[in-house]
């Protein structure tokens, strides 16, 4: 077999692919913001040690991690949308239901993983650190803010990056409900031109570049924080 890229490099195909990349990045950003915000809330709730609340969060995390992403996407798009108030669903339908429900599904699903990452980060800080903070006269909140969280955050960067990468690639699942993201556009071009190998090779390269950029960003962040620590 041989590669012949000229067929997909001419015509509208590259611009289709770039449109797809844009949708993928937007979806990724949208879902990540939902996931991270919710994960912070879930983690804080879990730290309160109020039993019923902790139980609810634990149940949420279990469900979020056990149900396949594709099913979560179908659930939000086809089922949950009909449970929402009609006016809300109408409004979403008028904007872009595929994108929004996919983003919600990814965000809520990924929040389960991220909250576990944040929780284990906090648990990795020895309790003596808190005691030391309190002994120095800091209140609970100040101890958290100045002693525990900065250290916990550094510990969570590598796994956080891991799940961020996973989310970036998993946005392709949204094609099942017709979100015109990168893999969707790839399959569309494949279907039109039958230049299967060429177009998938190109898309692989795009995903690889995106993932590498994310990895490098993570590395830089980690190094930045480490330097801060050694500097103070």
């Amino acid at each position: 077999m041989h590669f012949d890229f000229s067929r997909i490099l001419q015509g509208p195909y590259i611009s289709w692919l770039l449109d797809g990349l844009q949708v993928s990045l937007l979806l990724f950003g949208f879902a990540w913001v939902i996931a991270f915000s919710l994960a912070v809330v879930l983690t804080l709730v879990r730290l309160t040690e109020i039993r019923p609340l902790v139980f609810l969060v634990a149940a949420y995390v279990e469900i979020g991690r056990s149900v396949p992403l594709l099913i979560q996407v179908f659930f939000w798009y086809f089922a949950a949308s009909s449970l929402l108030p009609h006016a809300v669903d109408r409004a979403i339908t008028r904007i872009d239901p595929e994108f929004i429900y996919a983003g919600i599904a990814f965000g809520l699903g990924m929040a389960a993983y991220l909250s576990e990452v944040l929780r284990s980060g906090i648990r990795s800080i020895p309790h003596t650190q808190i005691e030391a903070g309190r002994a120095l006269g800091f209140g609970w909140l100040a101890t958290m803010r100045l002693v525990v969280l900065p250290q916990a955050f550094r510990a969570t960067v590598p796994p956080l990056l891991n799940y961020t990468l996973m989310l970036f690639k998993n946005t392709s699942v949204a094609l099942a409900i017709g979100v015109k993201e990168l893999t969707y556009q790839t399959r569309l071009i494949e279907n039109t031109t039958f230049a299967t190998f060429e177009i998938f090779a190109l898309t692989t390269l795009i995903y690889l570049t995106g993932s590498l950029l994310l990895t490098v960003t993570g590395e830089l962040l980690e190094r930045h924080w480490n330097r801060q620590v050694s500097g103070t």
């Binding site: 077999m1 041989h2 067929r7 179908f74 086809f78 949308s81 009909s82 339908t93 239901p97 595929e98 094609l175 099942a176 409900i177 017709g178 969707y184 399959r187 569309l188 494949e190 279907n191 039109t192 031109t193 039958f194 230049a195 299967t196 190998f197």
Partner: protein, 269 residues
Amino acid sequence: MTLRSLSAALALVVIATGPALADQLADMTARGTLRCGVLSVANPFGFQDPDTREIVGYDVDFCRAVAGEMGLDAEIVPVAVEARIPELQLGNIDILAAALGYTAERAEQIDYSDRYFVSRQVVIVAGDSTVASLADLDGLRIATNSGSSNIDYLRNQVPGAEVLTYQDTAAAFLAFAQGRVDGVAISELGTMQLRQQGAIEFRIVQDPLRIEPWGLGVRKGEASLVAAVNQAMEAMESSGQVETIFNTWFGPETPFHLTRGFTVGPITQ
């Protein structure tokens, strides 16, 4: 010495990656089999019989008959929509009988046999919709399943429509039933199956999206294989085999009650 081993390695790479030089038809004759790539989720073309667990359908019977006419044993290989072209190009299958609609652009990547089926592609809309012709679809959201040639036809015929593709036809129908899309592009056979289920109220837009000829797919550049397949198909047409296979799946005793509106012959568009 280093140079020699380097060039030897290079030669190996060239041999390994170069196009297969052998003639596919000769390979098949030596092997005694015709490997047919068919779909396994496309009732009534290629699908799993719930009782026997075997892949059956119009495409399957047609490919078996072509093999028989060529004096070969048919080997039925189920392929996924996304994998069908790579399977063909890598030589894992000899021909593709997989509901393959002909478009000029696709024909640049693979060769098609003569037509062995003609599908009428239509658009359905809600029973109370005001859409009267394809032109009225402008600005509406139309669903179809991924991997379908309808995507192209919609884009060409109704550039103003927003095309959404779903995982499969069932998901597209669900979106239609829930009012997320205004219509579904589908084959006329599909509308008959949908009508039998009776779950969704719909109307067919009168002018067809496309009258689509289907061909068997052959890897590019296998002229002798295409010729042999076409010859077999012609023989099947004159012996009445095509008619028999058509009636088995679409004839008066099937839920479709169709009469054949095409004959085997060159695709001319």
